[in-house]
Symmetry: C2
Subunit: 373 residues, 2 copies
């Protein structure tokens, strides 16, 4: 049976490196992984003291390719933020971006081969938590000989991961940056993510996780991505951007209730790209891990973060974020401050919603540059 | 073939009356209906001058049963708002609530029998617009001998309908109340509604509209309703109401990615009730009609509303509304004011989002009582 994850062509540029995880690798909610690995990319140079590393976790769907490099000159997901002379200045810092455990861009996840069976894990993959993603990133840093990172940083899911990292590995990060994250998934975000998951599990082609490459659960994946695209943005931005313009002629379809407006065409093209790039089971595991995240499971958040030994923290959030409200950002900052880290809270007025960190490079870059510089 | 719409038992109380629409009944985007009817309910008494009528249009899914009456003592969807001595005082006013054309609670819609074929219209129903719903309500008032209503009123979809009514039938309403409506559907709301429709049309059991009563497109309908439930409320309300409480034991399911949190159980129970109450094709038609609504199609909104001859208007909106933003409410009020109606704009601080008019009876009731009284 073909693995459902599209494999890159041999000829494509590839800057990924791979860290073998300890075998067995313990899973937070029980069980272990054997022979697991994490794909990562790096920029800049680790200095002799090994104390200039930024460990960067991603949101739910990106790969480790945050920016271009000689090995892979394609633009990354944070291309204008990360590089020599940019806000995350790789002239000074050694940046490691990890593809999350459970994802499908080189790290072990539900689409990977289970060494015990020789077939993809699919739903036999263990019960993934944000804590497992944090542990896997920690092991990548260790594999590079780094005992303590200068900064652990992440947006969205990554903003949860950095808090789990601080809880699990006290003393191993000097600074922390949480971008549009939260102390615990909110019921509103849980509701939206659970609808996305149900769109996939309700698609007959999902086949309880046993879909094939030639018959992916496209309808469910498309719905999930479209809903994601909506909730990652804001009404105000779309009013400016799309208003009530008609759909592009090439996205019209001769069928009942076909797209009529430009915004529908935009959702459609986003969804088509994503269906071919992301594995459905990996999405389900990562999405559920986000719902389950609650720093409170480790104890009182301020006490947990107090033990982490952070010197400084930066919390950036966005007023227009539907999924991770500005109140949640404030709560993260308050817990870090109460835990003893010198914390800056930056509530930004961007109109691009949850995804603002990908778009409003100017506002986010200003905060990151000032904090890291 | 059974009609997909559940029929009430003979023994159930029923306060509905029916108005025959003119035959042929012209459809805004082309075509006609033959033998069409509108179900409506009334409260209070029409006075001798026939000038105390409130014509009430509904949101997308309610029936005409806005409140109890001797003929049907069950609670209605606006039970605490409408009645003798309540904010909409049926001791003074004669209230007519109409089930929208295109809906499935007694009014003609896609689930009704097409007299030309003897079978349900399904997708052969003509291309419904908000303007058609307005015209059908206008005909109900005419059938009762009312030339000019005291007030035309509606929330949500109804807030669009009252504007279409004002545009199409100048001089036939003295006052207008728009609750959480808009001058034109926004791209953000279009995006969310189009995802809901795609959830239904992507369900194999939808069968291009030819589903059967014993095999409804339950998966798609469930997804559509769950997404509706989320977008009708707000993150702040759900934080208070659900937080991260676990799902009720009776809503747990032994299957992959089953509900874990209370909010998921709430979505599930809301969806189950709705699937058995609403017709999928009717939903699709009404939802698309909302996307297409643009008062600007009738001319400059202020000029159109100026010709309507309204004396007074009340526009109520809610700051936490995700679907019909407070900016849209302000724009409705500005257009009415510019058109010459003495307009009160009431932006309310409710946390229940778009559905606040159903829940925060105190705040909404205060505004309605002051305006109508």
């Amino acid at each position: 049976m073909a693995t459902p994850m599209p494999q890159p062509e041999q000829s494509e540029p590839d800057a990924r490196r791979y860290a073998k995880l300890p075998d067995p690798f313990p899973i937070w909610r029980g069980g272990v992984l054997h022979g697991a690995q994490i794909a990562y990319e790096t920029w800049g140079r680790l200095n002799a003291a090994r104390d200039n590393a930024v460990l960067l976790f991603t949101g739910l769907s990106p790969s480790a390719h945050a920016a271009s490099s000689p090995q892979d000159p394609r633009d990354g997901w944070w291309q204008r933020m990360l590089g020599r002379g940019l806000a995350i200045d790789t002239g000074q810092l050694f940046v490691i971006c990890v593809n999350s455990l459970g994802s499908c861009f080189g790290s072990t996840g539900p689409a990977s081969i289970d060494p015990a069976t020789g077939r993809p894990y699919r739903l036999a993959f263990p019960d993934l938590s944000v804590e497992d993603i944090a542990r896997a990133g920690y092991e990548v840093a260790r594999s590079l000989g780094i005992q303590r990172v200068d900064t652990v940083m992440g947006p969205s899911l990554g903003g949860m991961v950095v808090l789990a990292y601080a809880a699990l590995f006290p003393g191993t990060a000097r600074r922390l940056v949480s971008i549009s994250g939260t102390l615990a998934a909110s019921p509103f975000a849980i509701a939206l993510r659970s609808i996305q998951r149900e769109a996939i599990t309700g698609d007959p082609d999902w086949r309880h996780g046993n879909y094939t490459a030639d018959r992916l659960p496209r309808t469910g994946m498309s719905l999930a991505r479209k809903l994601g695209t909506v909730t990652y943005r804001s009404a105000a931005e779309w009013q400016q951007r799309f208003d009530r313009q008609p759909v592009r002629p090439d996205l019209k379809r001769n069928e009942p209730f076909a797209p009529e407006f430009s915004v529908q065409g935009y959702l459609e093209s986003q969804a088509r790209r994503w269906i071919n790039a992301f594995d459905a089971n990996c999405y389900l595991y990562l999405s559920r891990a986000m719902d389950r995240f609650d720093l409170g499971a480790h104890g009182d958040p301020a006490a947990v973060l107090g033990k982490a030994g952070l010197e400084q923290a930066l919390v950036i959030g966005v007023e227009s974020d539907l999924l991770f409200s500005i109140a949640e950002q404030r709560a993260v900052a308050q817990a870090l401050q109460a835990g003893g880290a010198a914390t800056r809270f930056a509530p930004l007025q961007c109109i691009e919603g949850h995804d603002s960190f990908l778009i409003d490079i100017e506002r986010f870059g200003r905060e990151l540059r000032a904090f890291l510089g």
